[in-house]
């Protein structure tokens, strides 16, 4: 069981900055994120795009913002559970919480801060009739163990990096690899596109473009897919169909935690501390909603700051505390490091 003071769900900019503000109050944080790397949308969707409304940064790339935040919170030694989705929450008798991920990792904390953005990123599923019946029976949206495709016939659909990269990878594993895409052009990195072209030329990848998988053939398990290319519709026998159409955020299991939900976001009653209808659970950043809400990173930072003060009071109801400026108090890292403003040097003139 991982124990911490504030369990943060979502390692996007707001979740990361929470670690800093909590650290100033000597509260330890642990973050859970469904993605394998921190940064949320900034890392997953637009790392190379500039942001212009971070105060004091006239321009910063989203990826650089995340790197800077990681550096800023380093002294406070946050823990990370990455690549796992927060699945269930149980309130304990003492008012604390246990959050369990989809992989069974348990986390215990008196405070839970949900900074989940638009939700956890999950594979986009194509709207093919009955596709849900074939999930884990030949339809996989994520490749967990490439070995399961050994000597199998595989059809991959999609035009991005993951479709290209997995097509390339599986040529060494599978009996046959077919890549179906609606266009002849691909969105992926140039060298991946070129590699697929080479493999196509030597007959290791069969390309079906411009075409679309419109149906699945089989009773209990995938026996083939139906492909539509222009007016032509045909069946292609295969053992596995792997649609790789990228990820989209979904609120997911958090929606069933008994929190008040409004407009696909978690309602917080007030802007005093962004607490939800369950005391001890806060919602900050894009995941919350309240009158006047703006989904901006800078607002998430503000919300995280106020939330941490409230969390401190909740953990230590009898302690008095006033906010301290970092310029005055410096930063005492949990790693023993200390940052502080240089003291004035006084020198006498003889």
């Amino acid at each position: 069981m991982i124990k911490t003071d504030i369990l943060i769900i979502g390692a996007g900019p707001t979740g990361l900055f929470t670690v800093f503000e909590a650290g100033l109050l000597k509260l330890k944080c642990h973050l859970i994120d469904a993605l394998p790397q921190p940064g949320g949308q900034c890392s997953e969707i637009y790392p190379k795009k500039p942001i212009y409304d971070i105060p004091a940064f006239p321009e910063i790339l989203a990826g650089d913002l995340v790197s800077n935040l990681m550096k800023q919170i380093e002294p406070f030694q946050p823990g990370f559970t990455l690549g796992e989705r927060a699945e269930t929450i149980e309130k304990q008798d003492d008012g604390s919480f246990v959050v369990t991920t989809n992989k069974g990792t348990k986390h215990h904390a008196p405070i839970v801060a949900i900074a989940g953005g638009l939700g956890s990123f999950e594979p986009r599923k194509p709207p093919i009739t009955d596709i849900a019946n074939f999930e884990d029976h030949g339809v996989e949206y994520i490749i967990r163990d490439p070995e399961m495709y050994r000597d199998k016939k595989v059809v991959i659909a999609g035009g991005g990096d993951s479709a290209l990269d997995w097509s390339i990878f599986l040529t060494d594993v599978a009996e046959s690899v077919t890549l179906v895409h609606r266009r002849n052009e691909f969105r992926g990195a140039l060298d991946s596109v070129e590699k697929v072209q080479e493999l196509k030329n030597v007959g290791k990848i069969e390309m079906v473009t411009p075409a679309e998988v419109v149906g699945i053939v089989g009773d209990d398990a995938v026996e083939g897919v139906t492909i539509k290319r222009g007016a032509e519709v045909f069946n292609k026998p295969c053992d596995h169909f792997i649609p790789l159409f990228g990820l989209a955020p979904k609120l997911g299991p958090i929606a069933d935690w008994g929190l008040e939900i409004e407009k696909n976001a978690i309602k917080v009653d007030n802007t005093l501390d962004y607490q939800t209808n369950i005391p001890g659970i806060y919602a900050i950043g894009d995941v919350n909603t309240y009158p006047g809400k703006l989904k901006l990173i800078l607002c998430g930072f503000h919300e995280a700051t106020l939330m941490c003060q409230s969390a401190y009071q909740r953990i230590f109801p009898d302690k008095r505390y006033v906010m301290k400026y970092t310029t005055v108090g410096g930063i005492d890292g949990f790693d023993g490091s200390r940052k502080e403003a240089p003291k004035a040097v006084v020198k006498k003139i003889e």
Binding site: L118, G159, P249
Partner: protein, 110 residues
Amino acid sequence: MKDITIYITDRNGVTHTILAPTDMNMNLMEVVRSYELAEEGTIGVCGGMAMCASCQCYVESDHELPEMSHDEDLMLSEAFYVQDNSRLGCQLFISPSLEGLQVTLAPSDV
């Protein structure tokens, strides 16, 4: 600059007559959100970067539209429910030439 009138059919099939400003650098996705014609969280998911297809719409009128950028074209190549008249709302900026535009929102894929 004056507002223009556009006609937006929402995901429930209801057509709304909407006034959209031409001087606020707004795009069609933002207009839909400002009038709350689609549920928050199901439209404009990527914020308007042509990196998701949650604002996909079908252009029903024969307006001459700005040419598709590479980004929009490629995003639509991976979107679901795509038709010949599909566009991403976030890439259609409200300008006087869009007076009378008729669009239907594509089904949500979120």
